[in-house]
């Protein structure tokens, strides 16, 4: 992206709020080992289920672990899973969408039928089924979420390519004898970048939600590794005695997802002239 586009995007108030939230999480996650007052996995039997206080900002859990420290490390998981999963999905989606949109014909038909098939399998069932046959771990989660969420990007890139191919500057370049590779990487892909970025940012939001849901169900990030989802599993267990175990991780997920959504929508408004005109 060019610098003026970045400035334009961040002058959109929604995008700016989203950007600040995500930046905050990034900083917290990076600095987790330095900020965390306790070892996130240190069990302390003398400090079980303590209310939030000056010693434990967010209280302690059923094993006496410091919730604040676990939340900080949970931010790392959430960030990592979201970005890697979406990276995988975007890579697959861009390649397949570009192939379908550029070459059309039978390649397009085959790829689009694959998309239709994947879209007709209830996503959460698909993810859970794969995890049932593998073992739940953070790496498997990222791969599975990535492999089950590339369909939207594929459709998007294909549509962009189909419409860009008919544009004069692409035709002109083709007439001048540009090779496929040059057309794709020099003209089509750079001009499809905005919608790809917007959909990736929104994709991170849903990946974060899926990861936390899986971890909550006990099929995602496994204890003792902390994730916001599996802190909430404890929250459910102790819901009658320890509100802090439910409140903080849920809020963290809410704010994170909100941040990615605001950033994504804001970028769309700022960078895509069509949608900006429509909504204003």
């Amino acid at each position: 992206m060019r610098r003026d586009l970045v400035i334009k995007a961040l002058s959109n108030p929604l995008a700016l709020v989203g950007f600040v939230i995500i930046l905050g999480i990034l900083v917290v996650a990076t600095l987790a080992p330095y900020i965390a007052p306790y070892d996130p996995n240190a069990i302390d039997v003398k400090a079980i289920l303590l209310e939030p206080s000056a010693l434990h900002y967010m209280g302690t859990d059923g094993l006496g672990r410091d919730v604040f420290s676990r939340m900080l490390y949970g931010a790392r998981i959430s960030l990592l899973v979201g970005i890697v999963a979406v990276g995988i999905a975007t890579a697959i989606g861009v390649v397949l969408g570009a192939l379908a949109g550029y070459y059309r014909g039978w390649i397009d038909v085959v790829i689009m039928r694959m998309v239709d098939v994947m879209l007709s399998i209830p996503t959460f069932f698909l993810i859970l089924a794969v995890i049932a046959f593998l073992t739940p771990s953070i790496w498997n989660i990222m791969i599975v979420i990535g492999l089950t969420s590339w369909m939207g990007v594929t459709r998007l890139v294909r549509a962009e390519f189909l419409s860009l191919r008919e544009r004069e500057f692409v035709m002109a370049s083709q007439t001048l004898g540009a090779k496929d590779r040059r057309l794709i990487f020099k003209h089509l892909l750079p001009n499809s970048l905005t919608p790809i970025i917007v959909s990736s940012v929104l994709g991170v939001a849903s990946a974060v939600l899926i990861e936390s849901g899986l971890s909550f169900l006990g099929l995602g990030v496994q204890a003792p590794q902390a994730s916001w989802g599996n802190i909430l599993t404890d929250g459910k267990e102790y819901i009658q005695f320890a509100w802090w175990l439910s409140l903080f991780p849920g809020l963290a997920i809410l704010i994170t997802v909100l941040g990615y959504n605001l950033l994504g929508e804001g970028l769309r408004d700022a960078l895509d002239p069509r949608s900006a005109n429509k909504n204003k």
Partner: protein, 339 residues
């Protein structure tokens, strides 16, 4: 119309084959053989049950033969029996030699999930339509801003977290709603309306939770659809010929803005079915989601494969119905389809 229907039905065949390929592929993702402990198969399982699994999926045959047999059984909707100790059939009831009928697991769970999904679709439409319309009519004013905020939070809030909070609030702090199951213990002693009331109380939270993200999505969709339609020439014409604002908004604008909603609802089906896992397992509702979740925890492969296939087939059916409804509702599409 008939020709369109036949064409659409014909298209479902390659889709079903694709789905069978994917589910077959997933089964073979497991390292080694699904009967080994590496695949999380219960290490205490006897050699006999391992053998049963091998026989069920013909694991001793070459892969291509395995797939052929799997396809054949799918065609007959035969998904075998659960590995759980009750060994009930996965899909539909069976009769043994003495004429005892054993109900199928999906047969019992499916109506519950469908009921919840139909109710949450109803809730979504009842709330999201007015929200979307109000939002579009007050664009960038206070009501629109408030509704947009609600939409963003609705998208971002983790359903299972809200479920926990609501359980705590309505079930633990106050004693307003039951927090788990489908019926109260004294359900059988209740009269007809008592039974309905009892079920509705149990379903209130699960229905709300499964409808939540749809609620946000559809509100936004209706708002944007309305905004687009309201700027069309025929709306200006309607206003110019002196029609009342209500007629313009509800007869001319809303009806056109709603058309794409039919397709959207069709596309929402896999999300609703998949989303039932979280709502049902939190509230202990014995539907497809809970059945699936329990099957995943127990590595009950026949149930997993059965639900995956049936869930996908239902999605295809839902999309087909949505397309037919669209063709029925929009004369332009209908004509295009017929020719």
């Amino acid at each position: 119309m008939i020709r369109y229907l036949l064409k659409r039905l014909f298209w479902m065949i390659p889709m079903l084959i694709g789905i069978s390929l994917i589910s077959f592929f997933i089964m073979h993702l497991a390292p080694g053989d699904i009967t080994t402990t590496e695949a999380g198969f219960n290490p205490k399982a006897s050699e006999e049950s391992r053998q049963k699994l091998r026989e069920l999926y013909h694991l001793d045959e070459p892969v291509i033969v395995q797939y052929g047999l799997w396809l054949e059984r799918m065609g007959k909707l035969d998904f075998g029996a659960s590995f759980a100790s009750h060994q009930r059939p996965v899909f539909w009831e069976t009769k043994d030699d003495q004429g005892n009928v054993t109900k199928g697991l999906i047969q019992e769970a499916l109506p519950i999930t469908l009921l919840i999904n139909v109710l949450s679709l109803g809730l979504i439409i009842a709330i999201a339509l007015p929200l979307g319309v109000v939002s579009s009519l007050t664009q960038n004013q206070l009501p629109d801003r408030a509704i947009t905020l609600f939409v963003f939070i609705g998208f971002a809030i983790p359903g299972f977290w809200l479920a926990l909070l609501l359980m705590y609030w309505t079930g633990v702090v106050h004693d307003w709603l039951p927090i788990s199951g489908l019926h109260s213990l004294h359900y059988d002693q209740l009269g007809f309306f008592g039974k309905i009331g009892d079920s509705l109380k149990h379903l209130a939270l699960p229905v709300f939770i499964s409808g939540l993200s749809g609620l946000a999505g559809i509100s936004l969709f209706v708002r944007n659809g309305m905004l687009e339609v309201l700027h069309q020439d025929y709306i200006t014409t309607a206003r110019a010929k002196g029609l009342g604002e209500n007629t313009v908004v509800y007869r001319h604008a809303l009806r056109n803005a709603l058309l794409p909603l039919i397709t959207l609802l069709g596309l929402a089906i896999p999300g609703l079915i998949g989303g039932s896992v979280i709502a049902e397992s939190i509230f202990a509702i014995p539907g497809m989601g809970k059945l699936f979740y329990d099957a995943v925890l127990m590595r009950d492969f026949p149930v997993i494969m059965g639900i995956l296939t049936i869930g996908s087939a239902l999605t295809l059916l839902g999309n087909l119905l949505a397309d037919l409804a669209y063709a029925w509702a929009d004369p332009r599409v209908r004509r295009g389809v017929m020719s």
